[in-house]
Symmetry: C2
């Protein structure tokens, strides 16, 4: 019997990184997970049409497509190629009937130390892409990334900054993605979630674990294994009016090496125990993961 509280749970495909789209879709079906967040590369492996069919036949929603972005380079052929690729990503999102294309904006261009210029180019890219997305019913979701990735992956470092960039655009064209891993440390996270309101295009969860593994890209933990208070962040996102899917997205070599069915079982259990935890809890007692 499926716990009714998983009605908003979504499996981001990255959590079972070694699975094909078909395997991930089967896993969702088996565990009663009603939505999936897809990545472009495994979708391309079988073709967008086939992926869309698999998802539809299983009765799943596609909560998001990951990812567009990487458009912080100066004007020139490389930038044009990036913008074109983002248009294709928008088309794919439309074909997959997902309301949300996640954007990881990119780091500092090679050899540059001009962070302000790189950040301005994010706004410039949106000027080109937002109307195109809007016409296809796809919303671009700016994902602020943990500052540890500022140099090489995402110059968008806080939710406040993402909102400042999103706000000149219509909310149905440009929103923000709130990922607990990226924002949990931010002293302004709660007021900024409130400010975000209907701009919240997606909510992803995974934990901040210590010590960080050698490859900081793979330092994301299963909920309950780290330091993040999910209940408060989820309550804030809900209070801001977000009622969409909650994706579990975990980059972690150990998780990836595990049996995917075990990963899904744990994920559902931890989701119920941490993200769906009681709204008011003892301020300081350690929470039992999966309890």
């Amino acid at each position: 019997m499926t716990d009714p509280r998983i009605a908003r749970l979504s499996l981001n495909q990255k959590t079972v990184n070694r699975c094909t789209v078909a395997e991930a879709v089967d896993g969702c079906a088996e565990f009663g997970i009603p939505a999936i967040g897809l990545w472009r590369e495994p979708v391309h492996d079988i073709g967008v049409r086939k992926a869309a069919g698999l998802v539809r036949d299983a009765g799943l929603r596609v909560s998001s497509l990951c990812r567009g972005g990487f458009f912080t380079v100066e004007e020139g052929p490389q930038r044009r190629a990036a913008i074109d690729d983002n248009r294709r990503a928008i088309d794919e999102a439309a074909d997959l009937r997902t309301p949300c294309l996640v954007l990881v904006v990119g780091g500092l261009p090679s050899g540059s130390r001009d962070l302000a210029a790189a950040r301005l180019r994010v706004s410039d890219a949106l000027v080109e892409l937002a109307p195109y997305a809007g016409e296809r019913g796809v919303r671009l979701a700016l994902e602020p990334m943990h500052p540890v990735y500022c140099a090489d992956r995402g110059v968008l470092s806080t939710l406040g900054q993402a909102l400042a960039i999103a706000e000149p655009f219509p909310p149905e064209q440009v929103g923000v993605l709130v990922d607990t891993f990226h924002v949990w440390w931010d002293p302004e996270v709660f007021p900024q979630i409130e400010r975000a309101g209907s701009r919240i295009a997606g909510f992803q969860v995974c934990d901040w674990i210590t010590p960080l593994p050698a490859d900081v890209l793979l330092g994301r933990g299963m909920m309950g294994d780290g330091h993040i208070d999910f209940t408060s962040l989820r309550a804030a996102v809900d209070a801001a009016g977000y009622s969409g899917d909650i994706e579990v997205e975990i980059f972690n070599e150990e998780v990836w090496a595990s049996d995917p069915r075990e990963v899904l079982r744990t994920m559902v259990e931890r989701y119920l125990g941490t993200v769906c935890g009681p709204p008011h809890q003892t301020p300081e007692g350690p929470r039992r993961p999966g309890g």
Copy 2:
């Protein structure tokens, strides 16, 4: 002949981590570096009085003492011990005649996910320590740390947050330390440096390098080896009214394994080429380190 621009340069002892106080002091004298930032552990190795004598005899200033802090735990014996240790650190700073005790506030207490409570305890600790410091002519310098350290080392994550905590106290008792490594990514860093004004109690430089080494604690690079635009940050700190020492503080296994004289030689060269670089530079061209 010593370049007159090194008049504000200070060697933070951590940069030559394997040197004793005497060796570090000798190195400063040899390269014409007029100030040194000391760490408590090597100072304890020879005693505070002896360390103070070595520095005085070499005609050096002590730009700062590292470090107090680590007071985010709940009330109880562990917290009392931390507060007592901070009082001793203040006494040592006074004995060393440094105007600045650097505070690394500490991470989440073990088992806790209550970041807000940990942050409040920083303010509580200052209520106890600030007057004690003020009476001894020592200023407590709150160091916002890169969010990568939020869980396990420093829950103070931005300059704005550090200022909000510092501002209720007299500026001569509580200031902030600006370290390029910790703040460079912050979209608010320039307005917050301006806001800081006379609260700036110290300025430290080192670079953000990629890829980060396996131990993120040792991921700090020599200026010019990474992504930080030092000229702009230094200009902002100067414009805010800071005219004190500029410490080079590098945690890096490779630097530590090098001949300390070579490290000092490179440090001086890079300081002149990056931190003292021309105030207006091509927005995007890569700067030649040490040029």
